[in-house]
């Protein structure tokens, strides 16, 4: 048990710190600090441009996705060095939000399944932020039932022809490439007839329609495929093996989004320290302290759980189902923390404008965004199932569609 840097880790930290001090876009530091979770707007610049410029600068110095192999745009850093980099990058890491799906999920899937020349061609510009990638999994008919998807891929010579619709695709509106799971055989049970591809989002027949969300923002999209042609060379894994390929993606997804999730706790702590109630600062109030302490230990527990996962990873273990804990805990906490911060504000908690609301409306934005956190990338219920079944070894849910050919599964309840 050692929490201190080894000499090599200390040297890595030192190098990272010096480079960030010399190169980070400090003109945005204050705005990034104040930015509400999941919603960064920069008065001084276009977020997409600023984020891409920072990522490019990192890439040129070898700091983009440090844990990736050098040949693919990384620097071959260890899992622990990756964490050190994140700690040092600090608030500027928020600019990486646009790249999370590409770096956390698409990249690892490409690394596991693409041909070597494809990896060398596609991964460096993905690492450097020149290309943004998205993950085309969810469908209107298959939310948590990911394998219930209906987008078809039909073989036509050396190509596949894609028809269908995806939904909830984060960032599809500014993505250059995507990984796509399709149904190639509807005559076999649902998990067996799937095949994975990657594609250029500018391919003919791809149409992206942003979805206006409950919080008024548009991060997610519907994506329509009409006779889109994908060369067979862009298939990832064997025909019919798409489910296994997607599990690689999903496991990395849980690690990527679970390890470093916002909980709202530091923000609430700061707010409770500054907010004056009738009898003094909110943080002196018995009831406030109790809530804050309970959330604080959940947040620290998550942090050290991810450190334990990283220690295991650095000993060569693969990310396992126990990483489902990150999003499960953080998602619920984010929503509860936001609700409580509004409660502390009393009637004024209803206000959301940056100039009128407390903390520039940070908690109001958090409140309205947090329901999505509990759904995206696996609902709370799916994550609990994963923990129960794959960590604790409890029986799987009874699946009435398990051995039924996909095209014979009922599609309506009544």
């Amino acid at each position: 048990m050692n929490f201190d840097d080894t000499p090599q880790e200390a040297a890595f930290r030192c190098e990272a710190r010096a480079w960030i001090a010399a190169n980070a876009p400090k003109e945005y530091e204050d705005e990034l600090k104040r930015a509400s979770l999941g919603r960064i707007q920069l008065k001084g610049g276009n977020i997409l441009e600023v984020a891409k410029a920072w990522q490019k600068k990192k890439a040129e110095a070898g700091w983009a996705v440090p844990h990736w192999p050098k040949d693919y745009g990384g620097r071959g850093a260890s899992p622990i060095e990756r964490v050190i980099w994140q700690q040092e990058e600090g608030v500027f890491g928020k600019l990486g939000a646009l790249f999370i799906i590409g770096h956390g999920m698409c990249g690892p899937t490409m690394m596991a399944y693409a041909a070597e020349d494809q990896k060398r061609h596609y991964l460096p510009p993905l690492a450097s932020g020149e290309n943004i990638w998205c993950q085309l999994f969810s469908e209107p008919a298959g939310g948590s039932d990911v394998a219930g998807l209906r987008t078809r891929a039909e073989k036509d010579g050396d190509d596949w022809i894609i028809n269908g619709q995806k939904i909830w695709t984060s960032g599809a509106h500014y993505s250059d490439f995507g990984i796509l799971i399709t149904r190639t055989d509807p005559n076999v049970p649902k998990h067996k007839g799937l095949t994975m591809f990657f594609l250029d989002m500018k391919s003919a027949g791809v149409e992206v329609k942003p979805i206006k969300q409950a919080n008024g923002q548009s991060e997610f999209n519907e994506v329509y495929f009409t006779d889109v042609r994908i060369p067979d060379a862009q298939r990832l894994g064997a025909v019919g093996d798409g489910w296994n390929v997607s599990l690689t993606t999903l496991m990395n997804e849980r690690m990527a989004i679970g390890a470093n999730m916002a909980t709202g706790v530091p923000e609430l702590f700061e707010f409770a320290s500054s907010l004056m109630l009738e009898d003094g600062p909110a943080i002196d109030d018995r009831a406030v302290r109790s809530k804050l302490a309970s959330w604080a230990v959940r947040a620290s527990g998550l942090k050290y759980t991810s450190f334990r996962a990283i220690s295991a990873l650095s000993k060569g273990e693969r990310p396992g189902p126990e990483n489902s804990i990150g999003k499960l805990v953080a998602g619920t906490m984010l929503q509860d923390v936001a609700t409580y911060a509004l409660d502390l504000q009393g009637a004024a908690g209803v206000l959301s404008g940056p100039d009128d609301a407390e903390a520039a409306g940070k908690f109001q934005a958090m409140l309205l965004r947090s329901p999505a956190t509990r759904v995206e990338g696996g609902t709370d219920e799916i994550l609990r199932n994963i923990i129960a079944e794959r960590v604790l070894g409890l029986p799987g849910d009874i699946r009435v569609d398990k051995d039924v050919p996909f095209n014979q599964i009922p599609t309506r309840g009544r």
Partner: protein, 375 residues
């Protein structure tokens, strides 16, 4: 950074688990709960022979000097087995206080006896309802003579000596509090065993009437020593709680796999699965907080006070959560005397208040986080 126990430490954990599963089955816990013994003396002797009592005590004082990480590993197993012995009062509280503040002579007298299993120690801090605070200590020390009543004192009825918190000033500040070391066999000490929710570890009232006592540490530094002792014990008891939480989770899981209702294993129902998943979540968060506490304890890091409070709160919540839901998974059977569920429920709730309750540690955590943020 390496956030895990070493292979040697894991081996020690396996060894402790094997030893305790053999020497401390549930029927040994029940023998104490049923009042057939005040504690399991044979187990206590066995723990001494295994070197577990002195694992964090330096070799110069009769221990093995292995260290606090090793003690954490053993603590987890003590909690998992619900060991009915005065381990926490002797090893976490009394021995830690002696190591932090004792004179050479005091250490020479008591630490080897603790390591050998021939002396049971405790900390006499509480005086009735309420959490630790300088104001709560009314027992007086006048020229080294103690007068007052302590209650509850963990394992007080079986302890050979106690570290006693006393008031020797009236400035109203923390510096009024001093610590004393009292041989409980001396004149003027009267102990009375008290019924408590977890009889596998005793509680007592101790009355001090004109008891001549020796100081432990400088007068006026009693409160600060006490705070440090409580922080160290918070991490160690945290591991006992994590061990207990894990075992309660395991029991619930095993029962859910075994028990059939409506023609299915009850563990196949989502309502049951999700309850068990939530138990796993709280046990895991607590374990991780305790690992951080273990690191801070073993390196005496400046983060210890905050890490200890986090470990304490998290482990308390996790053990209570797992113990109560273990009964729920078991249904009616879980509420029977024969099933072991209530043993864990008792221990979880006794440990939850035994070192200052949640509200004390929540206060401590927030104060310590504020200090760090201000620094």
């Amino acid at each position: 950074m390496n956030f895990d126990f070493s292979d040697d430490q894991k081996q020690l954990r396996d060894e402790a688990r094997r030893f305790l599963s053999e020497k401390c089955p549930p029927k040994a816990v029940r023998a104490v709960i049923d009042g057939k013994a005040t504690y399991d003396r044979e187990l206590w002797k066995g723990l001494a022979d295994m070197g577990f009592l002195g694992v964090a005590i330096p070799e110069a004082f009769g221990g093995s000097g292995a260290g606090h990480l090793e003690l954490c590993v053993i603590a987890e197993e003590m909690g998992r087995a619900l060991a009915p012995v005065p381990f926490s009062s002797t090893v976490y509280l009394a021995a830690e206080a002696l190591m932090l503040a004792g004179t050479e002579a005091q250490k020479q007298k008591w630490l080897p006896a603790i390591a050998a299993g021939t002396a049971v120690g405790t900390l006499a801090l509480f005086e009735g309802t309420g959490n630790p605070s300088p104001a709560s200590i009314k027992l007086t020390a006048t020229n080294g003579v103690l007068n007052g009543v302590k209650k509850p004192v963990p394992d007080g009825a079986v302890a050979d000596f106690a570290i006693v918190a006393a008031r020797n000033g009236s400035t109203g500040r923390e510096t009024d509090i001093s610590l004393f070391l009292v041989d409980l066999t001396c004149d003027g000490v009267e102990t009375r065993a008290l019924a408590n929710i977890d009889p596998s570890r005793g509680q007592a009232e101790i009355t001090f009437t004109n008891v001549k006592a020796e100081s432990l540490g400088p007068a006026s530094e009693g409160w600060s020593i006490l705070t440090r002792v409580l922080d160290r014990a918070a991490v160690l008891i945290g591991f006992e709680q994590v061990g207990g939480a894990d075992r309660a989770l395991e029991m619930g899981r095993d029962y859910a796999l075994d028990r059939i209702a409506f023609g299915r294993q009850i563990g196949s129902f989502q309502a049951v699965k999700h309850m068990l998943a939530d138990m796993y979540v709280s046990a895991t968060l607590a374990r991780s907080n305790c690992y951080y506490g273990a690191w801070a304890l073993s390196t005496n890091a400046s983060e210890l006070p905050e890490a200890a409070a986090s470990a304490r709160i998290s482990a308390t919540q996790a053990f209570q959560h797992c113990a109560k839901n273990n009964i729920q998974v078991h249904g009616g059977m879980g509420f029977t005397w024969e099933f072991d569920c209530h043993l864990y429920y008792r221990r979880a709730n006794a440990l939850a208040v035994g070192l200052g309750s949640l509200s004390y540690w929540e206060d401590a955590l927030i104060d310590r986080m504020r200090q760090r943020n201000a620094a």
